[in-house]
Each structure stands twice: as C-alpha cells, then as structure tokens.
C-alpha cells in the first residue's frame, strides 16, 4: 500500500497538533505542580487545624504511615504534640464507602486513650440540604467529641444508638457513624505499635541533631 500525499498531510497535521498540545500540557504541569501541592497542603492543614487541639509541632511533618490488613494503600497518621513532646492527639482520614452518593471522607482526631477530640468531613457528594448536614451541622459534628468505643452506642437513634439522624436522611449519618466506629476499633488494635513507633521516631529525631 502506498501512502499518497494527502494521507501524509493528515498524519503530519495530527502529529503536529498532538506534539504542540503535549508540550503545552507539560509546561503547564511544570508551572502548576508546586502551587497544586501547596494548595492541597493548605487544605489539609486547614482541616487538621479544625480537628486538632493546641499543639507545639507541625502535624503535617510529624506523620507515620501504616498499612492496615486488607487495605491497599497505607493510612497516614498525623501526630499532635504538647510542649513536652508527648502525643496529645492522633489524626487520620477514614472513608465511609456507603454514603448515599459515593464515598464520604472523614478526618478524625483521637486522644491516645481512645476518645475522640473532633471529626470533620473533608469530602462528600451527599444531597445538598439533606445528607450534607454532616459537613454543615456543627452541633451534630460536636456530638462526636469525647465519644469512645466504651461510652457510646455507635449507631443513629433510629437504629437504637446515640447519634441523631437528619430529617429525610438516615443513610448519610449512618455511614459516617459506622466509619468512625470502625476507625476507633482499628486504632485500638494498632495503638501500642503506632505510639511506640511515633515515640521512637521522636527519639531518633532528637538523637541526630
């Protein structure tokens, strides 16, 4: 088969368009990479500031990654420390896969004794006006404070638990409560390992000036 002149023109035209567009994209990527990382860091920082108590370290730089059984990706734990360097709160992100409309991402901050400091919703696609109360209804979020596995019935009131559901939306709060409970249970399991490693890490940091 011979390629005639017309066909060469098509090949060259598409090739040039493709190469120029790729170059444009690569250039944009170079220029936006740092600002994107900065924006994401800022968003995470803002969320962390809301769930963590007063601290004297940089929680974003004070982390530990642990891969749970059955998880593909590791979970990142952020440590918040007092002035004397003891850990007062640990924050990490959990995902409720069974929201009304896709996954709900939750940032939870827990004291070493297993009681919750605060939780925030960092991402969801729940129905505006109904399920999205999980991210807007401050009293509902505040109800998680000081709750731990032992002192609370981890279900919505409709299911005989301690947490309010919303009018017209039960699935969303139910998913959040379930995910936070699961997070607490996981924390109990890995607590000793996690805290030990975090302590070692600090000692290592102190050891190498």
């Amino acid at each position: 088969m011979k390629i005639d002149r017309e066909q060469w023109q098509m090949v060259i035209a598409l090739l040039v368009v493709g190469v120029v567009c790729t170059l444009l994209l690569a250039t944009t990527n170079i220029f936006t990479k740092a600002p994107i990382a900065q924006a994401e860091r800022q968003a995470l920082m803002n969320a962390l500031m809301q769930v963590l108590p007063e601290h004297h370290n940089d929680p974003i730089g004070d982390t530990r990654d642990i891969t749970m059984d059955g998880d593909k990706k590791p979970t990142r734990f952020y440590f918040s420390r007092d002035k004397d360097n003891t850990i007062n709160t640990i924050a990490w992100q959990v995902t409720a896969p069974d929201g009304y409309n896709g996954s709900i991402h939750i940032l939870m901050a827990v004291h070493p004794d297993g009681s919750i400091n605060a939780i925030r919703i960092t991402g969801h696609k729940e129905t505006p006006g109904l399920g999205d109360g999980i991210s807007k209804n401050q009293p509902w979020l505040d109800a998680f404070g000081d709750k731990s596995l032992n002192n609370t019935r981890w279900a919505v009131k409709k299911d005989g638990g301690d947490f309010d559901q919303f009018t017209g939306a039960t699935i969303t709060p139910r998913a959040v409560v379930k995910a936070v409970k699961k997070g607490l249970a996981m924390f109990t399991k890995i607590k000793s390992k996690l805290l030990k490693k975090a302590q070692q890490q600090t000692e290592a940091q102190h050891a190498m000036p």
Binding site: E6, Q9, M10, A13, L14, V17, G18, C21, T22, L24, L25, T28, N29, T32, P35, I36, Q38, A39, E40, Q42, A43, G123, T127, P128, G129, L130
Partner: protein, 233 residues
Amino acid sequence: MQCHDPNEELVNQKAEIFANGFWHNNAIFAQLLGMCPLLGVTTSAENGFWMGAATLLALVCSNLTVSLIRGAIPANVRIPAYITIIAAFVSIIEMAMNAWMHEMYLILGLFIPLIVVNCAILGRAEAFASKNTPINSLVDALAMGSGFTFALVLLGGVRELLGQGEVFGFDIFGADYPDVLMFILPPGAFIALGFILAGVNIINRKMKARKDKQAAILATMQTADLNTAEVQS
C-alpha cells in the same frame, strides 16, 4: 439601510456576531446544548459563574486556535485535531484551577474535565471558527461563552434564591425563609430551566412582533415614497 462608513460596517458585523452568539443562538436558550454542566453545577449562582467562566476561557482558546490553523488541517482529520486542541486547553484550565482556586476546583470537580465533551465548544470550532477569521472567531467565542455563563448564573441564581433564599451567598429573603429543597435537587434544575426557557420564548416573541411592526411601517413609508415619486414624475 446601507452603511457607507467601512468602520461602522465592521462594528455592525461584530455586533451581529455577538448578538447571535449571546442571544439568538445561545447554547442553552436556543440550542439546548451543554445541559450536563448546566443542570449539574447550578445549585448556586457562584458555582454557575465559575463553571461558565471556565467554559468561556476554553471556548476562547479553542476558537482562536482552530481559526488560526483552519487552512492547515485536512478536512478528514479536523475533528480529532479539534478535540485534541480543546482537551489540551481544558486540561490546562483544570490544572490552573486546581493550583490557584483549589476550593472551587473541589466543588466543580468532575464537571471541569467534562468541558472537553461540551458539544457547544466543538460545535463552535466546527460551525464557526473553522470558516471564519481569528478576530470574528474571538468575538463569537466571547459571545457564546458569556451567553453560556449568563444562562448558568441565571439558573444558579434562581435555584439558590428559591432553594436557600440567597443569591451569591447574600441573604435575600431573610432567615425566616423556608428553604424549598426541591430547587437545590436535580428536579428543581429541570423545573427552573423550563420556566426560564418559557420566559426567553416570550421575550423572543415580543422582539419579533416589534420587528415585524417596524418592518410594516417601513414598507408603508416606502410605498408612500414611491407614490409621491410617481406623482412628481
């Protein structure tokens, strides 16, 4: 009416392109194109505005580029070439929004990359930019894009007003307003759009009636002129 001043003619031509793109040929009101972002993101006026602005920018870049290279692309491969160009610009806009407007980027989410398949943009590349000069294509893109933004802000504003009693986040109806949830939910988008389209049709009919009337008056005047001319001769 004849224009003898070339400048005036040029301005009239651009104005006509703009009026066509913004109103008579409006992607939403007249062609009903781009419904997916329209119904998806217009839960508030602000969301509608930024979605419209991103689309406007993509449209301006793609129209201008397509018009500039319109002689160099063989007709057989023009569609893949246009789509590649549009996709590149949309990706650039997406990265820029992610970097400098992170919060709005998170709200609009998937709808930003979906601008690539907004048929209004490919439609303008194919129907206008591939046949017209860069300047005219730019005017067309600005008109089409601002018309699209106008439609999104209008629908977003109506839904935000009825659904939450606010517009652009400003409280209009006061705290006692019982939020009509339905207008924030998808059915409200369809209902509000239906009423807006009905309103647009009423305006168009009135405009046409006025034009017909003027034409009729002009015609009678011309006949009268002819009659006088005949009498004089």
